[in-house]
């Protein structure tokens, strides 16, 4: 049932144009990576602050709260570009094992948020008052770093699976 939908999506005018224009495709891909870089900085600084490896003199609450909105914007930008790339070759991505792995890792991101938002990120003030950063906050930071690095690797690997119309990008 999903396959006809994907085939229909990738044959919508805009998306088939995107597929056949190497330049527009590359621009979207570059925007995808640019958004990822900006987003990565914010994820990294948040996690490193929880681990006590950067900006130690300043409260965790300030770092977590002040980056929240920008982080969301960065994620939406990266995801929108990613969605456009997906739509241009929907069927190929669907069969790509690394794309599937990437989707599973995104599900883990959601799960991570579900588990740790209530106990860590929304309780940053408590973390600051504790004599040392609680283990659960450090676990949250390590898991976040691990999942995002996994997403980066899966994302790069997608391009190495030969599709029906040849390799995506080397």
């Amino acid at each position: 049932m999903i396959l006809p939908v994907l085939q229909w999506v990738q044959n919508v005018g805009v998306f088939s144009d995107l597929r056949s224009s190497a330049y527009v495709y590359s621009v979207i891909l570059a925007l995808h990576l640019s958004a990822i870089s900006l987003f990565a900085g914010m994820i990294l600084v948040t996690d490193l602050r929880l681990l006590g490896w950067t900006l130690n003199r300043y409260p965790i609450a300030g770092v977590v709260d002040r980056l929240r909105v920008l982080k969301r914007i960065g994620f939406i930008l990266a995801a929108s570009c990613g969605f456009l790339l997906f739509c241009s070759k929907a069927e190929e991505y669907f069969y790509n094992p690394f794309f599937r792995m990437k989707l599973i890792l995104f599900a883990l991101v959601a799960l991570h948020a579900l588990v740790f938002r209530g106990s860590v990120y929304n309780r940053a003030l408590e973390l600051d008052l504790a004599p040392r950063v609680p283990t659960r906050a450090k676990v949250a930071a390590w898991l976040s770093l691990a999942i995002w690095i996994g997403i980066l690797i899966a994302g790069r690997a997608i391009g190495y699976v030969p599709g029906r119309s040849g390799m995506h990008y080397l």
């Binding site: 190497a22 330049y23 495709y25 590359s26 621009v27 891909l29 570059a30 990576l33 640019s34 990822i36 870089s37 900006l38 987003f39 990565a40 900085g41 914010m42 994820i43 990294l44 600084v45 490193l48 950067t54 900006l55 130690n56 300043y58 409260p59 300030g62 770092v63 002040r66 980056l67 920008l70 690095i149 980066l152 690797i153 790069r156 690997a157 190495y160 990008y169 080397l170």
Partner: protein, 148 residues
Amino acid sequence: MLAANPLNSSSLVFPILECFHIAGFAVAIGTVAIVDFRLLDLGLRDQTPAQLSGGTSLWMLGGLIVAVFSGLLLFSTDPDMYYLNWSFLIKMVCLVLAVVFNYTIHAKVVASSASPGAYRLVAWISLALWISIIFGGIFIASVRSGLG
């Protein structure tokens, strides 16, 4: 051929190096962006740009070193192709400009209490320079596949 590059002996080496390259530049550009966003009065506004730069500069340098060294290794797998690729050459020019700008004008303005206008100008130049490197890198592949 004088000697075979050992990096070309396995098809896994290139993608693994690419992952290090991407992770390295994401850390470098991401941490510079934290400071640049602050110059634009966004994000970590509780700290001064100088404080943020002080907290992130080592991470930035670490990311940059990983990106440059993995990049050198990637380059070594097919130097002729890269050298003749106009997108690669533009990327190198942007890289030099970004690094020089970062450790001269950018560092000076971040350390000073310049006007908001100066802050904004420096932040936009910095973001534009770093992001142009990413564009240069991506377009190496499209130029390479004969579309340049």
